[in-house]
Symmetry: C2
Subunit: 231 residues, 2 copies
């Protein structure tokens, strides 16, 4: 990890930028080991524009400890794809901590993209967790896992009601899909299964719900996802 | 709801207490409509001792709005079964909000019991959410749903790695099980699938992770479940 880490303006990311520009697509190219200005190494995922710019970068907040010795990131990251919607970035083990998806959805993400190179025997749990963060936050989640021989595959596309649109096998596969991001609004407005409007839970005169683990609270006045600019 | 609500020392709870004492068992008898001293109605679940005492009561923090007009509770509740372990109380729609199970586990619950009278078409999502809160918190979860003709059944017993020990059908069924609460320690110590030690995530010198939605943070020094007295 120390050997291969590079700054985000290093040759690896420049190659990825060239690919995005060449194909003229928005790209989340997995994650890279980023060497920061102070010499720390982060596990960082990127959003590259069709012009080959680094539109956003996100440093994994929950490194896979103790196996992965990266420095944790210190913030959650969403980015707008103009005219389309807002994407939230997440990496692998972040899926195991519901605080991450909760914040990305609250920051307005309509789809969370989670590169997930899992070669271990815990993909069954990840599939449950991936569906759960879609359900609890009423967002799309795309969990892209490495395929055989390195990864155990089963990449997922989950809709805002938690339904599995695609589950890949273990072999290398191209998963293609078209996501209707307006479904996020529909599900929140009419409810999951036509019932649950999770983001409309509070009344203005409810007392805040104290969350002592976090030294914080859910305040009714802030319990609303921000609106995506382009969505 | 207004018509049937009673204080916790009213005749309904006294009948439930008599049943617990008669059979000499710890009982979580679903939930009841509780009329509080100030006249509000809460959806409240109970833990009754083999002596017929109300050992703990928990007012559902997330009423199923807009359909259920109860007043939300303002705190999470765990209780010790002496010599056995610690139980966390949750009601139905609470399962849709990961903050509840997160707090119960942090307060030392080894098993969360969640009475869940769901007659609607969203039990598939609840099953995913129930398994996910077990996985993310490394606790047992018992989600007891009403059976036909009122409920859609599929009551669940899930272990601390998210494996389904029992899933009932839709018809009335007696689900019996013996839970080894030491498995909570084992899974946390050796990891889910032998890998993930979620409650050992932080190093003492990590910076706190800011959680702006809650106006709070995850502080490494407090990221540890309390120990159950009797466990």
């Amino acid at each position: 990890m120390q050997e291969v880490a590079e700054p985000l303006d290093g040759p690896r990311v420049r190659r990825l930028q060239a690919i995005a520009a060449e194909i003229g697509r928005w790209v989340v190219p997995g994650s890279v080991y980023e060497r920061s200005a102070d010499g720390c190494v982060h596990n960082t995922t990127l959003l590259l524009s069709p012009q080959g710019e680094v539109t956003a970068s996100y440093r994994k907040v929950f490194p896979w400890r103790p196996y992965e010795v990266c420095r944790p990131g210190d913030r959650f990251v969403v980015a707008d794809i103009p005219g389309r919607g807002r994407i939230g970035l997440s990496v692998c083990y972040d899926t195991w901590f519901p605080e991450v998806a909760r914040h990305l959805a609250w920051m307005g993400a309509e789809v969370i993209v989670a590169p997930t190179p899992t070669p271990t025997s815990d993909r069954p749990q990840e599939i449950v967790l991936t569906r759960a963060i879609a359900i609890a936050n009423q967002v799309y989640v795309v969990s892209v896992n490495g395929a055989a021989p390195y990864g155990t595959g089963r990449s997922l596309v989950v809709d805002p009601e938690g339904l599995v649109r695609h589950e890949a096998g273990e072999s290398p596969t191209v998963v293609s899909d078209v996501l209707d991001l307006d479904a996020v609004d529909r599900v929140r407005r009419h409810g999951t299964a036509g019932l649950h409007r999770l983001w409309d839970q509070f009344h203005a005169d409810d007392a805040p719900l104290e969350l002592p683990l976090y030294g914080g609270r859910i305040a009714p006045s802030t319990w609303a996802p921000r609106r995506a600019l382009g969505g």
